[in-house]
């Protein structure tokens, strides 16, 4: 069954999927500096996955999609968020010890390596949202069929 788009859409998708991916990574990693953050960036990267599915078709996407890998990465994102939140548990839950005690990510505010655990949490949420949305979309796309 042929369920992919034509040649022009496919060629443009080849060029724009890395573009969407790097823009999503930019939004996620600059979540503490510019508008956006984990959810917005993760949803942007998931858009690249949806573009891949729509442009290249379900058969091609099925070959590239690994259920166990995406499931594990989604769990890893949640665990990384929780781990960052528990770093300052000696004082309080969600206590930003990386920033208060100048351990890591403690640069000048406004630079990339600042804001303590916020960049870690943004990356964790971005990973979780990306893998979760792509998994949900693949599950819907693979749902048996219209007829019968």
């Amino acid at each position: 069954m042929e369920n992919d788009m034509g040649l022009i859409v496919k060629t443009m998708a080849r060029a724009t999927i890395p573009l969407i991916g790097i823009f999503g990574a930019y939004v996620v990693s600059h979540g503490h500096l510019t508008p956006g953050g984990g959810f917005q960036g993760g949803a942007t990267i998931a858009g690249a996955g949806i573009l891949f599915l729509v442009a290249f078709g379900l058969n091609e996407a099925k070959k590239r999609y690994d259920k166990n890998l995406y499931s594990a990465l989604e769990g890893l994102g949640g665990l990384a968020f929780l781990g960052a939140a528990m770093l300052g548990l000696s004082v309080a839950f969600f206590y930003n010890i990386l920033w208060r005690d100048k351990i890591a990510f403690a640069g000048q505010p406004g630079t990339l390596l600042s804001a303590g655990f916020l960049p870690i949490m943004n990356l964790a949420v971005g990973l979780k949202v990306f893998t979760g949305l792509v998994s949900a979309m693949m599950a819907i796309a693979l749902f048996r069929r219209w007829k019968k």
Binding site: I8, I17, L19, I22, F23, Y26, F52
Partner: protein, 166 residues
């Protein structure tokens, strides 16, 4: 090879996005983060970006792209927009779909030509058929019903597309 092409493409975009973090240039931490994220994106998309894309890393190709976008393509867009404004005011239209035979070899050439035709108003690419070496174009004012080449539809764009995508 696909990894290197995807890496350079994403890293250039990262540099464009983060320009101005240290004066007008980039702070070292942004560049390191860019290398890391570009490597991740490039690893994920190394099989998607396509075969033989390394030819687009040739700087001569970039100069040709810049000349094409600022010269023929921009001029064609300006001319065609005035032409469509004229057709909107006077209502002189004769729409139709024509089959345009083209002499192109690879996907990139078809994509460049189709997008150029769509960007110049009055013509809209509907489908590209590489197996019959033709484009199907919706034309707002059909001058030739069965064109022998792409010359009446798109002017010199086919020559440019053949050169840019080779």
């Amino acid at each position: 090879m696909g990894f290197i092409v995807a890496f350079i493409w994403s890293f250039v975009l990262w540099l464009v996005l983060t320009a101005g973090t240290k004066g007008m240039l980039w702070s070292p931490q942004e560049i390191v983060a860019g290398v890391v994220f570009s490597a991740i994106v490039a690893y994920a998309t190394r099989n998607i970006i396509g075969e033989k894309t390394a030819r687009f890393l040739n700087p001569i190709r970039w100069v040709e792209f810049a000349i094409y976008c600022l010269g023929p393509l921009f001029w064609g867009m300006v001319k065609a927009n005035f032409d469509v404004a004229y057709r909107v005011i006077t209502g002189k239209i004769r729409p139709g779909i024509v089959r345009v035979p083209v002499d192109l070899e690879n996907d990139a050439q078809y994509t460049i030509l189709s997008n150029s035709i769509t960007l110049t108003p009055g013509t809209l690419t509907i489908d590209a058929c590489p197996e019959e070496k033709a484009l199907y174009v919706h034309w707002i004012y059909v001058k030739e019903e069965e064109p022998k080449s792409s010359e009446p539809v798109s002017g010199s764009f086919e020559k440019w597309a053949r050169r840019l995508g080779r």
